[in-house]
């Protein structure tokens, strides 16, 4: 006999939570109050402890799944065989509603965004808000949407009466699947929307000669001690040094106060592709850290990012962001700035290309970069100067020695 552990409402009125990770495996014995699963609501990441000791009979969801409150998260085969189910959530309804839900297959409640006055209008006009597609911000249903829906309802019923008019699509033709955005993706969506609607973006492309960088790294790789120097770690350092020369790129733009806040230290956000979407872990004080140290931190952060272990604090406080497009390929991009920053640098693959060096056609290592900037506070000339400085370091990382103090 097993006990079903249902996802409780762990916040106040939380409707769903995302599975961050399982802390146990199927078949594993757990103690009472031992954490079993980590879930993320829109407010917090929390561990859910086992209600009793026993063996984990089955885990019902995968990492990244969004689970509605009340659904079975896992089953626990008890040591005691008396209780069929843990006591239900206070205030939650019992069997009737559960059966109803299962019978109708209505697993997820759809939340409709609409102002109270709009809801009232819908009631007055006999319109079901669930059936209305909202055209307002974030899909909010507006008064116009409701009126439009009311009109088309009228048309439809008129058609039925007069046996003419619009033919409704057959109800079985459901050849699509709708999936709600997971909380992380929703957050990304909001930030990107804010950035592209508020920040006038311009992007500067540049092709940098990277022979020096490739050569220099090759020499460093012979060093058997210390962590492996990745291109990303070296480039993070080079970008930090470049930012020292171009401090107006290392700023936040404060929208409300129309001010820029310039930082003396560089905190680099590293946009990272993970199964949960784009995450941006941050490395602080890059200008003061050795490349080995940066490589080490970067390794740890990207590992955490991929495993879903990054905490909000690991993603806070960046002053400039690098998007590493290199791993996946591509030539150019128009990256979107991570607000409140004012610029973002996309780094593309280091590739051998035909180049003309001192009048001779030859093969050279080249690296493309795309630098998007907030045109309110920076100009194209600034961007050109920035990638030019970066290019000097990329072609000859040995120049870093000159920066030593």
């Amino acid at each position: 006999m097993s006990v079903a552990f249902r996802l409780p409402d762990i916040g106040e009125g939380v409707a769903e939570a995302e599975v961050v990770r399982w802390l146990v495996a199927e078949g594993e014995e757990v103690e009472e109050n031992q954490p079993v699963i980590e879930v993320q609501t829109d407010k917090a990441v929390v561990e859910l402890p086992a209600p009793a000791a026993g063996r984990i009979a089955s885990l019902c969801w995968k990492i990244g799944d969004v689970v509605p409150v009340g659904e079975v998260l896992y089953r626990l085969a008890g040591q005691e065989e008396e209780k069929p189910d843990p006591p239900p959530t206070p205030g939650a309804s019992g069997g009737d509603e559960k059966n109803l839900r299962e019978a109708t297959g209505a697993k997820k409640r759809k939340r409709v965004l609409a102002a109270p006055s709009t809801r009232r209008l819908a009631r007055d006009l006999g319109v079901d808000l669930l059936q209305v597609e909202g055209t307002g911000v974030h899909g909010r249903v507006t008064d116009d949407d409701v009126r439009k829906a009311a009109r088309s309802n009228q048309l439809l019923s008129a058609g039925e009466d007069g046996q003419t008019g619009i033919v409704d699509a057959p109800s079985h033709a459901r050849e699509w699947v709708e999936e709600p955005l997971i909380p992380t993706r929703r957050k990304i969506a909001d930030r990107l929307l804010f950035s592209v609607t508020r920040k006038p973006h311009a992007t500067h492309f540049d092709e940098l000669a990277a022979d020096g960088l490739v050569e220099w790294r090759k020499n460093r790789l012979h060093d058997p001690e210390g962590p492996r120097l990745t291109y990303m770690a070296i480039l993070a350092k080079l970008v930090a040094v470049t930012l020292k020369h171009h401090p107006h790129f290392n700023v936040h733009f404060l929208e409300d106060e129309q001010k820029v806040r310039r930082f003396s230290s560089v905190s680099l956000g590293i946009a990272t592709d993970t199964p949960r979407g784009l995450l941006v872990p941050v490395i602080h004080q890059v200008e003061r850290k050795s490349m080995e140290r940066i490589a080490e931190e970067l390794g740890q952060l990207t590992e955490w990012a991929r495993e879903g272990k990054l905490l909000p604090k690991h993603m806070k406080g960046s002053t400039f962001t690098i998007s590493n497009a290199g791993a996946l390929g591509g030539s150019w991009a128009t990256p979107i700035i991570n607000p409140p920053e004012v610029a973002i640098l996309a780094i593309h693959p280091i590739e051998q290309k035909p180049v003309v060096r001192e009048g001779v056609l030859t093969a050279g290592w080249q690296m493309n970069v795309s630098l998007s900037f907030d045109h309110r506070v920076l100009d194209g000339a600034d961007a050109i100067r920035f990638t030019k400085t970066l290019g000097e370091y990329v072609s000859d990382p040995g120049r870093l020695v000159k920066e030593l103090v």
Binding site: P90, G91, A92, K313
Partner: protein, 360 residues
Amino acid sequence: MLTDQRQENLVQYLLPDGTLSGRGMEIWTRLNRETKLRFYREMTLVRMFDRRAILLQRQGRIGTYAPLEGQEATQIGSAMALKEEDWIFPSYREHGVAMIAGMPIANILLYWMGRVEGCKPPEGVRLLPPSVPIATQIPHAVGAAWAAKLRRESSVAVAYFGDGATSEGDFHEACNFAGVFRVPVILFCQNNGYAISVPFSRQSASETVAERAAAYGFPGVRVDGNDVLAVYDVMTEAVKRARSGQGPTLIEAVTYRKGSHTTADDAKRYRPDAEVAEWVQKKDPLKRYIHLLRAEGLLNEAEEKEWEQECKRRIDEAIREAESRPPAPPTHLFAHVYAQLSPNERRQQKQLEQDKGGVG
């Protein structure tokens, strides 16, 4: 936060390292062995209860819960200075106060399960239901104190509230009334530094809560809320003043909650790690008191273990008892909020009964 400047006027007898100040020694010799041990026992019980309640919430066995860990000394120290005849008007975090007042642990859990029994103390216990709306209980306490004064009774009333409540109109109205009518009330503020996520520096332009009492014409005292002896002594003094007709006292107990505002909150998002570590590791109210008891030879490790076992047994029993009750039916919503339902609520009640047959 305790800046040096504010620290000067802070009453503190038991230092964070577990040693007594000069004045602390004096107080210590005046207390009997039973009281000294009780501070420890009650603080331990409520801390263990608190940790367990968070687990119960994560298991879906109780609803949203407001954790108190870190504030044991403010609650146990102050409540132990009261008598049975005194009226208590708590906020939602006062589980320790409720226990001292005589509320069974099972009933405290029932409150967080949404059952009305959680609001009803046993006969003779003058503990009001927790006020979730901020500061509304403060004028109530002043009213109760005024009633006691008019009836020439010797009881006092205490309002418990947080730093956030001191920004509400209710707080100021209550202070003003209490001052003008010199009622036997104690306004007990547990300043844990944050009103949910708003730090005290964004809450108030005055340095402290206590200094506001001066404007209303009664004393304000600032006490180390993590020092159970100081809280107990300051509260005893305030109760004595109130009972002898000298009027109200505002007490600001400076403390810190170890965890989040409620189980629906994530304090990591707004409190610096270093600050939390400072309070949790260096200023823990229970740790420092255990240190003192051990140094004084009043407690050893075996006795501690034994008491913790006893606490666990009591908490387990309370959970069993609370969970043996049927879950709160949604119709309670209509039965216990308004004396008389509005037509709108009557309609909703009817609808609910039709939909669900009236039971959850």
